[in-house]
């Protein structure tokens, strides 16, 4: 298969997830779009290196996560190559909740704010967890051991629950 055909196939199957992972990393629209763009470029650049040793999705998520981590540490933003229309139009993040569900809206806003206070490892795990990846896949992507992934996720869940309860009780 030609490189561009393969690339197109990969994007067709994964671009929503790529975009969502970037969305969990960055609340700022411009930064999120830049990270998404950077991920697409890196996937293109590395397409010839994929040797089928892992699942395509695992390979892609590694690139996306590493692109997000790289983007976080960059001070200067890249020039935009990407056309705004490439970003999945029907992707929903904050708008996913029913409009009349105020409580859900508040929860999401709170959760996204909380994500921004988390360290990069935790934020990475949350974004992968929300994509319903297995512990094994998360371990393959991050390089953490499976046990470590489980422990970290458990702590993150506890933290979210506690922070929310504190907020509800007015102590947070």
């Amino acid at each position: 298969m030609e490189k561009d055909q393969l690339y197109r196939e990969i994007l067709k199957k994964n671009d929503t997830r790529i975009f969502r992972i970037c969305s969990w990393y960055f609340t700022d629209t411009e930064e999120r779009n830049d990270a998404y763009q950077e991920s697409l470029i890196r996937i293109w650049e590395h397409l010839h290196t994929f040797r089928g040793e892992s699942k395509v999705s695992t390979w892609i998520y590694r690139i996306v996560v590493n692109s997000c981590l790289t983007h976080i540490r960059k001070d200067k933003l890249r020039t935009n190559l990407i056309e705004p229309g490439i970003i999945p139009e029907n992707i929903q993040v904050a708008e996913t909740f029913p409009a009349d569900d105020d409580q859900a809206d508040i929860k999401l806003t709170f959760f996204r704010g909380l994500l921004q206070t988390m360290n990069h490892a935790d934020r990475t795990l949350v974004s992968l967890y929300l994509e319903e990846l297995s512990t094994k896949e998360m371990s393959d992507i991050t390089g953490l051991t499976e046990a470590n992934v489980r422990v970290k996720l458990h702590r993150i869940k506890e933290k979210i629950k506690k922070e929310w309860e504190d907020r509800q009780n007015g102590t947070g």
């Binding site: 671009d15 590694r62 790289t70 490439i86 709170f110 360290n119 991050t142 953490l144 869940k157």
Partner: protein, 199 residues
């Protein structure tokens, strides 16, 4: 509130291309064309670099053949020094464009940390012989030239040594300043991330 609440909420559409429109396909085509153009540019740059290196080696090798016997060693060392510099720059350029983004994050950060260090062992291994070659080659040529026209004297070599030492110190100092400005902050962020990943 549970983390799983968001798992169910934010996955409404698995296949955004199911209802894709033509305009979006066109934009994707344009994007792929941009990527192909960037690939072509990268290949062109690599080719140019190799051509420049080839031309350089040919020109200096022919000069080396024609040059006076007393200066041959000096020129040979300078040519070797330049060649080493070019190969090193080429190697760095290739290495930089071969960053493995598909590695697990911990490994990716570890490698990024190595890349952003100031003067890695390989830099010292290349820089020291390079400086020695430039210094020895220059000394040999200057000594041969001055002896030929003015007779033997220690002054030209002394002045050359001071100039070379000053150039090396200034070069080191300025690269450190540039590294501090451009890379130190990045390296600190990478180390912080490494610690967060427990590495």
């Amino acid at each position: 509130m549970e983390l799983d609440d968001f798992k169910n909420t934010v996955l409404p559409d698995k296949e955004p291309y199911e209802n894709v429109n033509t305009q979006k396909e066109n934009k994707m085509d344009m994007f792929i064309e941009e990527l192909k153009a960037a690939d072509a540019k990268d290949r062109k740059n690599t080719r140019m670099f190799i051509i420049v290196m080839g031309v350089f080696v040919v020109i200096y090798s022919s000069t080396l053949v024609r040059i006076h016997e007393t200066m041959k060693d000096g020129y040979a060392m300078l040519v070797l020094g330049f060649a080493l510099t070019l190969f090193y720059l080429f190697w760095r350029y290739r290495k930089l464009s071969a960053i493995d983004y598909s590695a697990p994050s911990i490994q990716f950060l570890r490698e990024a940390g190595q890349r952003h260090r100031f003067m890695r062992p390989v830099d010292w291994i290349v820089t020291i012989p390079m400086l020695i070659l430039f210094f020895a080659g220059g000394c040999s040529i200057i000594d041969a030239t001055f002896t030929k026209y003015f007779g033997p004297s220690a002054w030209p070599l002394g002045i050359y040594s001071v100039v070379m030492a000053a150039a090396a110190v200034i070069g080191f100092w300025s690269s450190m300043k540039i590294w501090k400005r451009d890379k130190k902050g990045i390296l600190e962020k990478i180390r912080k991330m490494q610690a967060e990943f427990g590495d």
